[in-house]
Structures are given as C-alpha cells and as structure tokens.
C-alpha cells in the first residue's frame, strides 16, 4: 500500500489521459445525437495529444528553443536542458488531423441535417425504415 500511492502520483498524467479518452469513447458509443458523438470523438483525440505531450516533459528542462539564438552556432547545447521536441512535432500533426476530421464530420452532419431535419440517430433510422 505504501508503494502504491507514490506510483499513482508519479504517473498521474497517464491516469488523466485514460480517463479523458474513456469519456470520449463512451460518448461515441452510447450517445444518440450525432454532434455529441463528434464532440466525444474530439475528446478522444485530444486525450491522445495529452498523452504524447506528457511524454515529452523532462524535469528541470525548458522549452525546446535554443537560448543562444541565431548567432550562437558553436555554443554547446546540453540535451538535458531542453524538453523533448519530438512529441510536440508529432502532436502538431495529430492536432491538424483532428481539425481536419472535425471539419469533415461537421460537413457530413450538415448534409444529414438538411436531409432528415434532425440529428438524433434513432429518429433518422426511423425515417429510413418508414420509407
């Protein structure tokens, strides 16, 4: 028990991302409204972004921009002083992908709304069955 609590605290970033991700997943599976599902999808993607960015953190390090500036090409840079830039770069891509998916999903929802005049999934399915 005495070891459990420090472990939980030391890895708190993982617990937060898992919680957020599961909220998103639940919304995508269980919600009836199509836009709520889209919101759930966005939470889901953002949780993964949080996960990646939290990998990049290092204790005692600063943002990954050389403090020497342009003129200091020969200054020695210590890797331990800067955060890991790779997860940031990967997540820039993932954010862009998330935005793009969101745009496409909203466009689809708009098409569905203009056709069925509702965004509740069960009502749409009832309309389809009626025909």
């Amino acid at each position: 028990m005495s070891e459990l609590i420090p472990t939980i605290i030391a890895k708190y970033n993982y617990w937060i991302y898992i919680t957020l991700m599961m909220i998103g997943l639940y919304a995508m599976i269980a919600k009836n409204n199509l836009v709520k599902k889209i919101v759930g999808m966005n939470i889901f993607q953002t949780a993964i972004i949080l996960f990646y960015v939290s990998i990049g953190v290092k204790k005692g390090a600063t943002i990954p921009i050389s403090t020497g500036g342009h003129g200091a090409a020969h200054e020695v840079v210590h890797a331990a002083d800067y955060l890991n830039p790779l997860p940031h770069v990967l997540m820039l891509t993932a954010i862009v992908v998330g935005v793009a998916t969101l745009g496409v999903a909203l466009a689809l929802a708009l098409r569905i709304y203009s056709r069925y005049n509702t965004l509740e999934e069960d009502e749409i399915l009832a309309q389809i069955r009626k025909k």
Partner: protein
C-alpha cells in the same frame, strides 16, 4: 447501447491502466523517449540547420515529409467540405432582403424582381440584426494588425514559437472575423471562392515543389541542402531557407483552408449568407 458502451469503456480503460504500470514516471529525464533520439535533435539542430527552434527544424526538416502530408490533410479537409456541401450554380434564394439605408425600411423581394441600382439600398441576411458600429469599426481596426502579427508568426518561426500552421490559422481567422463582424458577402468580396480554391493547392504545391526541386537538383526529396547552389549560400543556411519556403507554403494552405471550410459550413454551401 448505454450498457454496452459502459462495458467496452471499462474494459478498454482497465487494459490501458494495466499497461501504464510499466511506463516511466511523469517527467522522468531518463526515460527512453528522452534519451534515445531527442538528444540528437537538441544538440545538432543548430549545427545541421542553423535553426534555434528545435521544434521547427524537426517539423520542417528532419521529419519534413510528415509535415508535407499534414498540409495535404488540411487541403483534403477543405476539398471534402467543398465537394460535400457546395451547391453549384450559385442560384439566388427565392426571397432577398434589402434595407433602405436612409430610412431603415426593409424591402423583401420575390424571385425575379429587381431593385433599382442605387447606393441607398444594401443587401441584408434573412436573420439580420442592426449593424453595431462599435463591433464593425473595432474589427476593421483590428484586422490589419492581426494579419501583421500572423506574418510575424510565420516569418519568426525559426527562433520563437510559431510557424506556418500557427500563422496561417491567424491569417485565416482575420478573414473569418470579417465574415462574422460584417457578413459573408463582404468577406467573399475580399477573398473570392476561386482565389481560395486555387491558392489552397498552390500552398501545398509550394511545399511539395520545394521538395521536388531538391530532387531535381540531384539530392533526395526534401533535402534542402541541394538548394545551396540555387540560393548561393552554404548548405546549412540553405536548410534554414528551405524551411522558410515550406513554412510560407504551409501558411498559404492553412489560411485558405480555414476560410474555405468556414465559407462552406457556415452557409451550408450556398455562399449567399453566413451565420
């Protein structure tokens, strides 16, 4: 469905928690992710590319190929919104509303009717609220500064947080602000649909074209050091300039895509009136 969802969620969550036990603790400087590749980028970015912002050098050079496709993803999203929503033909709606500026009287026109061409009448949206002088003037004043800041963010991405994506979004936001504070027609007069739709692929093509230029100059795709012979600089500065070139392409593509998506979604593809 709710119970199934709950069960799936709990099983997945429990599995992820089970796996997370083996992970290094948060902010551990000795984790494999922080010790294997990332020191190379941090220590060699200045030597390889003379870019002090490691994220920029990594984004646009070491992993520039990813970023090119990332820009393509943006372009794809704009194009998908266009193909799904745009109602072509540009037909006018059945009823149009005009407001007589001097008296404030609203005139509703049925299809086919015309109004005498004069400065006194202005076209208004169906759900029209009276123009708010403070908002309109405030936005008109702010937009040039927003755009200036966007250009700074694009150009200064080498040595401070920023770059093509961020700057492009700010540029796009300035036009969207115009559409929100005035109306969609005003924004479309500034950035016509055809201009947006052509600039978007041009922006991504600048990126891919820079890479192809390197290929034609005899090195691998996106190896900016090949540009040294064209730009008359040493290979390391050439990498820095190559990054700037692709950032400009990214900025154009992102700006136009933001506007494109906004125009299509806010008017449901009709392009007659926005939100």
């Amino acid at each position: 469905m709710k119970i199934i969802g709950l069960i799936i969620t709990i099983i997945t969550g429990a599995f992820l928690v089970y796996a997370a036990v083996d992970f290094p603790a948060w902010a551990d400087p000795n984790s494999p992710a922080s010790t294997y590749l990332s020191p190379y980028f941090i220590e060699n970015s200045m030597k390889d590319t003379s870019v002090p912002n490691f994220v920029t050098s990594l984004l646009a050079d070491y992993r520039g190929f990813d970023t090119m496709f990332e820009t393509t993803v943006i372009f794809t999203a704009g194009l998908v919104c266009f193909i799904l929503l745009r109602i072509s033909g540009g037909k006018e709606p059945e009823t149009r509303h005009y407001r007589h500026v001097l008296t404030g009287v609203t005139v509703t026109l049925k299809e086919g009717r015309k109004i005498p061409a004069s400065e006194d009448f202005e076209r208004i949206d169906d759900l029209w609220t009276p123009p708010d002088l403070i908002i309109k003037t405030g936005c008109r004043l702010m937009i040039p500064f927003i755009q200036l800041f966007a250009l700074y963010v694009i150009a200064h991405g080498h040595s401070s947080p920023g770059g093509g994506f961020q700057g492009g979004v700010i540029l796009g936001a300035s036009i969207i602000l115009l559409a929100i504070s005035h109306d969609l027609r005003t924004a479309l007069e500034r950035m016509r649909e055809k201009v947006v739709a052509i600039l978007c692929p041009v922006g991504v093509a600048i990126y891919a074209g820079t890479g192809t230029l390197c290929l034609l100059l005899g090195l691998n795709f996106l190896d900016y050091s090949a540009l040294a012979s064209v730009l008359h600089v040493d290979p390391i500065s050439a990498r820095s300039h190559g990054i700037l070139m692709v950032e400009i392409g990214v900025g154009i593509a992102v700006m136009t895509t933001m506007i494109w998506i906004y125009n299509n979604i806010s008017s449901a593809g009709k392009y007659n009136q926005g939100l």
